[in-house]
Symmetry: C2
Subunit: 508 residues, 2 copies
């Protein structure tokens, strides 16, 4: 094939296009390299430095052919941002290209598509190739669909977890007991981590919490914490903070802990695939990579939660425990009530307000957020061999009521970098009222979350909603159910129209 | 959400990047529109002209965020080539963008993933959205994987065929009998269409053959015909040629006959999915779109062919017949011997040489290519109500031996545009020899095809291989099995090393 001849030498050029999980190579149409057999738009090419050995691992990228001027010249090979970084060669380097070999691990994807379970070797090979960006987004989608269709067997979930862990970095805190807390998500508000971490750290246990930003929700723990302090911290700084304070609440994206998971999620999210097996591997791999040894996992169950029946929750619990045990992570699952939001605020600023009210022992603080946080913190405190079983909750309450949790939170916020000017809730408001008299009988979590997003959360931190009613409350027609906060009239209007069509709270 | 406010108006710009089946939108990082919640690299955006109604169907595109200068400015929205054409607005038009709604037809993909069959309405909705480029390549992959996994039921294949046909143009030849011939492929050489078409057209039947170029093989019928004549002809010219000559052998890609199929193939090919159901829909939709009323379909069966057992071939035959009948296309299937290549040459020039030798009644012409072509042509001639059943083959032989087929081929070549200077086989040659004494017991079609591609076919038309031995022949160690032809030393060397590792011909 022509690529093997010397005639296709090209000069490397960085093209400042962010193509996310997929490497893209840009070639000028009509250039000599473009005439290579088997190269066409959207085919995959293999890229090596001129003079590199044939058996050196090439960079693979999807080919985009360029007609316009200014992006690549006829003797240039352009690479998208991530691909350029991955190749690691300076601009102007002589490179050659060839049709890409099919990643051998795709045979595993194919077998999985035919219904065969994948073993550890196959999962490892897939993980390695995905992380090295040798898969196109379509190939990643094929893998995800293959995994999601009949869901994964337990041993496959274990193999995927291991493969995820092996392809990323892993933190080592050099302590025997490193605790963590995670919720599978789906419940508006529910910002318990920001109460639990200061309680547990105040007790002296190591709880280096790395959190995510919102993907489809109105706020992730990292977004809410960012209302108070910096969360995008270099790993070394996180390490120093945790050494001094025993805890942190930082964004996990800066550490390259589970790059495979990040790549899978970037394809999975738009496809809206729903695979419990992938979720278990994703959560446990991140926790293991973060160096946790004991994890308290919150599975809320409710009619509009991610898990809708106790039977499903029990099944999921067993899978978490099984995989965790095999990987050396003690997982304790708590199945909680997911029938209504936790706390009043939904959106970064409004949630942070609730958290700080709980920590300040404000009598007006949301009782449900306080109670749930104490319960979860108590369970974690009992991971400490010096805390007697059953004493955790009382201890957690004491740490909170004594003000030690609030002091610890202040210290963590200062260490991470306190936001100089506090943020306020969005100044534009609209109240959404009950359409009739009756009692609150249910919440549509997705609808409420979308309402908060329409209002601008999390991009506008002050946007979101403030809930006034709880399950079972009597309401009167025309009285407010919740208040929308936004920062622009357009967003307020969009959210209001959304809520007026259906407020997401059932009244009967 | 911010997109609904007026602040995100952008000026449209054409970015000359060919992104194949996927629309891509380019936005400068940090521009106002980029700050829209839910917009991030690789998410999908909806694009409308400023002032367009909210319920106007937007163009959907995958977002690539641009850091470099020169591609898009801060107030511009760039679109890749196909996306720009599809939007159909001039550069500089004010447009606004918003997070893309999820195409509703993805619910069908999701149901299919869960094992439910898809009905015509669901297939139609998917087809419409794919052709309008509302699917990302990942979403198309999810659909293909869903279809391929347990393969499609007959009614689903029928629904997909209908949906493919409805989303493209359709030729109407205004005659009751329009014949065609198709082979499902996979056999090196086997260039029977170029003998069959002149025989059938010389008899006066209408056979407007549109062929494909090689995708993974060393040559498609269009590539081989291009050795002799132009094949990329505008539809109007094909129509005039067919009116005068009753037949043609042109490339089918210039007519927009089955755009859905083209899009599916562009994603399916790199994934190397293997779904008989998708293949049946793809072939029949193209034939129906080309205006055929009667189709002879060649299914070669052999140990390294696409179909490996007679039982599989029979099953495939029934599916073709069933779907064809329901769509008003009479399909006659012929199951042929696919245990060895047909003809001697593999690669455009070498195959064209074999075809012309058969048409010229050259005694040295490959007997298998001649015999198979006469048999197939005979079956098609019997579609003519004036030809008695069983007489077709004798009639075909007579048309060939009388020189009328050769004369018809000359007329078709002249009408399409004869290549002024004939092409010769690649001037660099290497003989691949038998490693031991014995008899030829089998052919590895894929390996021989790869050998011809390594030698440069089809991009170098003279490249390929010339076979000297047939199944059952006695061979001596060191005597040639075939000769490689190439046009560059690098390609010859690559092909030779490939063949010397394993010649693709079994000797025992």
């Amino acid at each position: 094939m022509r690529p093997s001849t010397a005639s296709t030498s090209l000069r490397l050029r960085a093209v400042g296009i962010d193509t996310d999980a997929e490497n893209v190579a840009y070639l000028a149409r009509g250039c000599a390299a473009c005439r290579i057999d088997a190269l066409r738009a959207a085919s995959k090419v293999a890229i090596r430095a001129e003079g590199a050995l044939d058996d050196a691992e090439p960079l693979l990228a999807v080919l985009n052919v360029v007609d316009g001027a200014g992006i690549v010249g006829a003797d240039e090979l352009g690479l998208s941002q991530q691909a350029f970084v991955l190749l690691g060669l300076p601009e102007g380097t002589a490179v050659r290209i060839a049709p890409a070999p099919r990643p051998a691990s795709l045979d595993g994807v194919r077998r999985k598509l035919q219904g065969e379970p994948l073993d550890l070797a196959a999962m490892r090979a897939i993980a390695r190739d995905v992380v090295a960006r040798r898969y196109t987004r379509s190939e990643i989608a094929a893998f995800l669909v293959a995994c999601g269709r009949d869901d994964l067997e337990r041993d496959e979930i274990l193999a995927l977890t291991r493969a995820m862990l092996e392809t990323g970095e892993r933190l080592d805190w050099r302590e025997a007991l490193v605790v963590d807390k995670h919720c599978i998500g789906g419940i508006p508000g529910n910002r318990t981590s920001m109460v639990v971490v200061p309680i547990v750290a105040a007790h002296g246990m190591l709880i280096p919490k790395t959190s995510s930003r919102a993907i489809t929700s109105p706020s992730g723990t990292a977004d809410t914490m960012e209302v108070l302090a910096e969360v995008e911290l270099p790993m070394e700084r996180i390490r120093r903070i945790v050494e001094r304070e025993r805890g942190c609440i930082a964004w996990g994206g800066t550490a390259r802990l589970a790059p495979l998971d990040d790549l899978l999620i970037s394809v999975e999210r738009p496809l809206a695939l729903d695979s419990p097996g992938l979720m278990v591997a994703s959560i446990l791999a991140k926790k293991l990579a973060a160096g946790s040894t004991r994890l308290l996992l919150d599975i809320p169950v409710g009619p509009s939660a991610k898990v809708r029946s106790l039977a499903d929750a029990q099944r999921l619990r067993k899978t978490f425990e099984h995989v965790g045990r095999a990987m050396g992570l003690h997982v304790e699952v708590t199945i909680t009530d997911g029938s209504q939001p936790i706390g009043r605020g939904v959106g970064p600023v409004l949630e942070a307000r609730d958290v700080m009210a709980v920590l300040a022992n404000d009598p007006e603080a949301p009782a449900d957020l306080r109670a749930k946080s104490i319960r979860l913190a108590g369970r974690i405190l009992e991971f400490d061999p010096d805390v007697r079983g059953g004493d955790g909750e009382a201890l957690a309450r004491d740490i909170l009521e004594s003000g030690r949790a609030a002091a610890k939170m202040a210290a963590i916020v200062d260490a991470q970098g306190r936001r100089p000017v506090p943020l306020a809730p969005g100044r534009l408001v609209a109240e959404i009222t009950a359409p009739r008299d009756g009692r609150v009988t249910g919440y549509d979590h997705l609808r409420l979350a979308r309402a908060a997003r329409h209002a601008g959360a999390p991009a506008s931190p002050g946007a979101g909603l403030d809930l006034f009613v709880r399950l079972g409350d009597a309401v009167r027609a025309g009285r407010p159910l919740y208040r929308l906060h936004a920062e622009t009239p357009g967003e307020l209007d969009l959210a209001r129209r959304w809520c007026e069509a259906d407020p997401g709270i059932a009244i009967a």
